[in-house]
């Protein structure tokens, strides 16, 4: 098992290097001169030239790449051209918020999506199935931002149950940063008030983000269960009198989750990017709004770092997916 994981990790490195080269080339083909934007509104041409020299922007591209690679190897992602803060610091501060949101929404979509997918499969080709399929496709097709605003209306304005924006109330003091994950840090500090407040703030963005993932999970669980139900062992298990619920929710479901787990892996990458809109609407202090900001200002260091980061997360999650596949299906472990 350990050897399997290590081998997969080793295979990831060349991919990440390839990703780095491709993004580096792409981003450096962007015509906008970072030095101009970096210097700010009131800058003089001399200031701009000075910056260009300071950041090595006047050197040939391969030389810039070499320098960058050397730094990346030591986890130094340079400095944002605009905030002048170390990109690594910004990412370390923001990634936990996005991960928290991503996990919460994945949890929601799995907790809701898997049962719905199973029900759709059991009611295959009948009205409940149709309704669930249409509903889940609606989830993909609805514009997240519009849905988010509707949630804000209902839960924050009319009912007043949940907060409108942000990750913590303005009047609530933040627990000391230990892990960077607000929920965990609240628990570590024993701050139940902050924990409750943070959970309430997490709710609406997580629901919005869960919507797209929900549809995918329903869809793949449904087809996974349909596939499993074709197998002889289901018939056997019925014949020897397994209870219906245990048959479906334990014995069939575990066989059906392979495709779903693959999808969860793919979703994870998508959620980080898809979080952009949700993070903007709910002012969630995560990596999504950071990325958009970087793109709008042409902040190359940040764009590179985020691309690498998302690529790395994508790769890690896919390794995790393989591991989970192994846990779900012992036959795969035998082969690995």
């Amino acid at each position: 098992m350990l050897r399997f994981v290590l081998r997969r990790c080793a295979l990831v490195l060349p991919s990440l290097l390839g990703l780095l080269v491709v993004t580096f080339l792409l981003i450096h083909a962007v015509p906008s001169d970072p030095a101009v934007a970096m210097a700010g509104d009131a800058a003089t041409p001399e200031q701009i030239a000075h910056l260009r020299q300071q950041y090595g922007l006047d050197r040939p591209m391969w030389e810039q790449f070499g320098l960058y690679l050397g730094k990346v190897a030591s986890f130094d992602f340079g400095e944002s051209a605009f905030s002048h803060r170390p990109v690594a610091l910004d990412i370390v501060q923001r990634l936990p918020a996005t991960l928290e949101l991503t996990f919460a929404s994945l949890l929601l979509s799995v907790l809701i999506g898997v049962p719905l997918g199973v029900v759709a499969a059991l009611k295959h080709n009948s009205w409940p199935d149709y309704a669930l399929r249409i509903f889940s496709v609606l989830g993909v097709a609805v514009a997240a931002f519009w849905f988010a605003i509707m949630l804000q209306f209902l839960f924050s304005m009319t009912l007043g149950w949940l907060p409108l924006r942000g990750d913590l109330s303005a009047t609530m003091s933040r627990p000391p940063v230990v892990t960077g994950f607000l929920l965990l840090d609240s628990l570590i500090a024993g701050r139940w008030d902050a924990f409750g407040d943070a959970v309430r703030h997490l709710f609406l963005p997580a629901v919005t983000l869960a919507l797209g993932g929900l549809a995918t999970i329903v869809r793949f669980t449904r087809s996974g269960v349909l596939d499993t139900l074709q197998h002889d062992f289901v018939l056997y298990e019925r014949a020897v009198g397994y209870s219906r619920s245990r048959l479906v929710w334990i014995y069939v479901l575990r066989n059906s989750l392979t495709a779903t787990v693959t999808q969860i892996g793919l979703l994870f990458g998508g959620l980080i990017a898809g979080g952009v809109v949700v993070e903007a609407i709910f002012d969630w202090p995560g990596i999504g709004s950071y990325t958009v900001q970087a793109i709008l200002t042409g902040d190359r260091q940040v764009m590179l770092a985020v691309t690498l980061l998302v690529g790395a997360v994508y790769a890690m999650v896919n390794i995790l997916v393989d591991v989970v596949h192994g846990l779900l299906d012992p036959r795969l472990m035998g082969r690995a």
């Binding site: 991919s15 390839g18 993004t23 792409l26 514009a143 931002f145 209306f153 980080i272 985020v306």
Partner: protein, 280 residues
């Protein structure tokens, strides 16, 4: 073909999807003749800004006094154009690469598939946004960006199918009777690999409309005064929550169209080949 269609006809969601797709296609073709104010594609009328839905303007008017109903109808053509252009372009890149990588083996195949993997790992939205910025934000650059990030999906599917088929008996038999490579690939493998490609493309059409709308939302897609749905939503944000109709109707148009393509694609997927359930 006939029994497939008969089975599709019994799949209620898929038929709903087909109905929607046909309806949107009709709107796209006939839009300028159906829309009550076809001139509102570009004209502005300051005196009737942001009017709520009424008999004259069933969906209300926008920030420049244009009839949203007309613009929603006129937007169908653009939405389909983007979607088709992106999907066709991705297929033109992805399918030949997949055939090549799948039929040949050795370094060429390896290289193609490794590049495909790398491109797949690039966060799509980030690349699309970066490219949109690279070429200055416009519909064309958004389309290019989307195509550049979408082709690997086709390459993967075609690669897998080609691998499977080129190992199959009938291709061996063809080789045995001395059929040329291009003949085998184009006359025998490609048609067989086509059905998963079509399914992927159908879903891709819906997906592209949605991503194009997200790009529009971030100011990287269509440019004014195009009656683009995503752009309308982006423009409407300044007027929310009061002018709810401004965002709602273009939003519903996107919702229905994307839903149509997805339902149809899902139905086809269920029909054509159970195996591709596993390949996303």
């Amino acid at each position: 073909m006939r029994p497939i269609f008969a089975r599709l006809a019994r799949d209620v969601p898929a038929m709903l999807g087909l109905g929607i797709v046909v309806f949107v296609l009709l709107l796209a073709v006939l839009g300028p003749w159906i829309a009550p104010y076809p001139g509102d594609a570009s004209a502005s009328h300051l005196l009737r800004r942001l009017k709520p839905p009424s008999l004259d303007y069933p969906f209300g008017t926008d920030n420049l006094g244009r009839d949203i109903f007309s613009r929603v109808i006129l937007g169908a053509r653009g939405a389909l154009q983007i979607a088709l252009a992106v999907v066709v372009a991705s297929m033109l890149i992805g399918v030949p690469l997949g055939l090549l990588a799948g039929y040949r083996s050795g370094w060429l195949s390896e290289t193609i598939m490794r590049i495909t993997d790398v491109v797949l790992a690039i966060p799509q939205l980030v690349l699309a946004l970066a490219l949109a910025q690279l070429l200055s934000p416009s519909l064309e650059s958004a389309m290019l960006a989307l195509s550049l990030t979408y082709w690997p999906f086709f390459t993967r599917i075609v690669y897998a199918e080609t691998r499977r088929l080129s190992g199959s008996l009938f291709v061996d038999a063809l080789r045995g009777v001395g059929a040329g490579t291009s003949r085998i690939v184009f006359l025998h493998i490609l048609p067989n690999a086509l059905s998963p490609v079509i399914v992927r493309a159908t879903i891709g059409l819906g997906f592209t409309i949605l991503v194009a709308a997200v790009l529009g939302f971030l100011g990287m897609g269509a440019t004014p005064p195009a009656p683009d749905w995503g752009l309308a939503i982006a423009e409407s944000r300044t007027y929310l929550p009061k002018a709810w109709w401004y965002a709602a109707f273009p939003g519903v148009a996107i919702l229905i169209t994307v839903m149509g393509f997805n339902l149809l694609g899902d139905g086809l997927r269920d029909l054509v080949d159970p195996r591709i359930r596993r390949s996303r």
